[in-house]
Symmetry: C2
Subunit: 344 residues, 2 copies
């Protein structure tokens, strides 16, 4: 039995669901894979809750469900203590990072990831920004300390898009990559195309159903997809891309009339992220793109992510996921944890 | 640099392409992954060719291209020596198994796989039958000798369908699995539906273009897909299925009129392999199945394989591959080799 003591940073949409999935799967992981997973610390905006013997996950979930922060726990709560202090001061084997990060500097996640790797803790993250800002440095740090940095949950939700590219296509050349990497825009475009909604109506509906943020600009302007594309470039294509070089066009100017005209020709408009091989580099873009009905991403529904790898000797490989809530993204974090400890 | 001495059994459609892919990728594997892959023996019906320092792959390919067996090589050829003798008598680290096997007893592949595992050689196989007949025994043998038995190339060609299920979904429950696992039948049904060909016309065309065997019965009656489903059941679902329990219906009775009528309702007929969870077991079937246009496998083209995993907490994950020739299947064997030696 391998015992793993984990710290969780961020108990929001993804972090909360991670605790839920962990709670569901704990017994079967112990039984089937020989993994004993304990959460010895959690951090949110309120502070932290820490218990060396393992927190009661249901108690933490109940606190959050009642609208309180984790530091409100009467026994384990430590109000005002930061996630970074928790990482620095708590004995643990692995950091789970599911916090929101500022686009400018990737904090507070970036500092916590660095601190964890430096302490020889593995890191499993669902947070894109630190990777986009510092991928080579973080990878080198992990290697220098002999630990793993896993981030399958950062791109395309619960779809193992990174694993597929990084592990299954390690021996082949990827000449082109395409992805539908942002759910908000896919939801909006699909509802506009299928149900004739205006952009504003579709956005309002997406916000009401939890498929768009109150401020949707990072999604609808393409930044979220561009971030994910940069992570795919570094990790799968071995190409050290920066966010600046992604040619970017959002979906705010699209009209239902355009979509209807395309549909009459059997085409679908998708916000497509693309990396195209050009000599020694890749050319990256995120833009609304008309796809033929037969294109593997054309039929993706409102709540689907997808990715297509065009290879030299392994054909064209497509994968997609239907993801109604971030539950699969949380499950992808658990997948990363299992992949660190389970040997083939 | 890790040196790997490999034996290849079977130099037909897949084996020959494996040598081609290896030849293409050898330098980049050495450079990028630190793997030095050598073929020290090959076997076909004529006998074997063996060279402890590594065979010249292009010389072997030239022999085959000229219609000769590998044992005709003037320097390395040993006519009449069997693959099993080669495995038993040659020092090597890994056996690549790409030979045709008899449905009844899995030979000659099965004996060679057993001999290799018993000698502590890893095995990478594209040959379904030995796995279908003896999966638990072969897996136990590999584990007892501390080596790997890899078979990603046996199911859905170059699509990492097994890896996806076995590694990426290890922590979740698969409640249902669907696959389009046989290319011959998918080719025939697609040509009948899209171009109005009769079954006989579509079959003849598939045979002429190399997408069907001279004797297509194992494909069109569903046996090939059933074999692959049994391998998925053992390896991904952890369910020890036998071929007998697969409910089986082939495509020989389908008419273009039926397909046209379905198409008028927006539906597509596919030979679908299905595993459906029922309590502690799975119910397995292979049969022609009408799919709604929105079903992830409905739009698969004539030369595509696909698989869909319906999970408890990781959404619905679909993957497919466009595979015009068995080149991606050969690339999947190389993927397995790399996965044995490359650490994450």
């Amino acid at each position: 039995m391998i015992q793993v003591r984990m710290l969780l940073m961020g108990v929001g949409n993804v972090g909360r669901r991670f605790l839920h999935v962990l709670n569901l799967k704990r017994e079967s992981l112990r039984h089937r894979i020989g993994l004993e997973l304990q959460v010895v610390g959690v951090a949110d905006r309120s502070g932290v809750a820490v218990c060396a013997e393992g927190l009661d996950i249901q108690r933490i979930l109940a606190l959050k469900a009642s609208g309180q922060g984790v530091s409100a726990d009467p026994e384990w709560g430590r109000p005002g203590v930061s996630a970074l202090e928790m990482v620095q001061e708590t004995d643990a084997d692995l950091l789970l990072e599911a916090s929101p990060a500022r686009m400018q500097d990737g904090q507070p996640g970036l500092a916590c990831i660095e601190a964890a790797l430096s302490k020889e803790m593995h890191v499993v993250t669902a947070n894109k920004v630190p990777l986009v800002l510092a991928f080579p440095r973080l990878l080198a740090l992990a290697q220098a300390h002999g630990v793993r940095l896993c981030f399958d949950a950062t791109v395309a939700g619960g779809l193992p898009a990174i694993n597929l590219g990084q592990r299954d296509l390690a021996a082949v050349e990827i000449v082109r990559l395409e992805g539908i990497l942002n759910l908000t825009t896919n939801y909006i475009l699909t509802r506009m195309a299928d149900d004739g909604l205006s952009y504003e109506q579709a956005l309002a509906e997406a916000q009401a159903s939890g498929h768009a943020e109150a401020d949707p600009s990072l999604d609808v302007e393409g930044w979220d997809a561009a971030n994910k594309l940069v992570i795919l470039a570094h990790s799968v294509l071995g190409y050290p891309a920066t966010l600046h070089e992604v040619e970017l066009e959002g979906i705010t100017g699209i009209t239902p009339a355009e979509l209807a005209a395309g549909a009459a020709d059997g085409k679908r408009l998708k916000l497509l992220a693309t990396a195209e091989r050009e000599g020694d580099r890749y050319r990256l873009s995120v833009r609304p793109t008309w796809l033929d009905a037969k294109h593997p991403m054309a039929q993706l529904g409102a709540t689907e992510f997808g990715v297509v790898y065009y290879t030299d000797v392994c054909g064209v490989i497509s994968a997609s996921i239907v993801e109604e809530t971030p539950l699969p993204t949380a499950a992808a974090m658990l997948r990363d944890v299992v992949s660190i400890y389970a040997t083939p």
